[in-house]
Amino acid sequence: MAHDWQPDFEQLVDKHQSMVFSLAWRMTGDRGLAEEIAQDVFLELDRHLSRIESEAHACFWLRRVAMSRSTDALRRRKVRGMDLWVEMEDRHSVQAEIHSSPLGVRLEQLLATLPEQQRAALILRYQEGLTPEEIAATLESPVATVKSHLQRGLKLLRAKALNHLREYVRVKEQVRGV
């Protein structure tokens, strides 16, 4: 199919670097690794630029490859036996505080404790605002599976956040009591 859209690599980088970096960061929990993944994803885009048909296609392609490369990086780390979860918590807590509210920071930390597939579905849902159908297309999973991951991930995250809030309120009341 012929298409008039002429991709400009640098413009695509300008426009989508934040998205690709954020996806990789939230998936891996490692800022340095996320930057590396983002660079790899854009270099791969450069090699496939002739096959990209539109702005929307570029955005979809970048999301899909960013998620896939992040998952690959996580698996490589698991093989190497690194304690990712502890590391994720530490790094998120340091970096996230710069931009977010305390609850926001805590939610990001709690996100890092969710299983990989639930985390991927929630990131695409709440960072990118995708529908379950769009998430399914991005992750190449059945829609029912994605809905299940969203449901379970959300439930787990909500329960963890509630525990955190209860603890927060308890500590505040203790402080007030003193």
Binding site: Q17, Q39, S101, L107, E108, P132, L154
Partner: protein, 108 residues
Amino acid sequence: MEFEPNEDFERELRQAFERRPAPPGLKRKLLARKSAQRPQHLSVIWQRLAASIVLIAALAGGLEWRNLEEQRKDEAARQQVMKALRITAHALNQMNAQLAAHGRAANE
């Protein structure tokens, strides 16, 4: 399973999961890697092309050598057959001569 969102919690999640700005040097590093990869990429293409040419030449040479070898063997086999035929013809001639001599002796 139906996906049932909770609006307040979802709003909180959207705020918490806003996109983060990319590191300031990301584009610069990316473009540096891109320009560093291009010549390497071209040199890899040339290396592959040269390797392909060498491989094709080796294969063609091998095929040609095999043809020549087959021709040489064919010629050797032909020569052997001709030699065998000559020996047979010579033996038959000798036998004919002996038979003719034997016939003459019998007639006398």
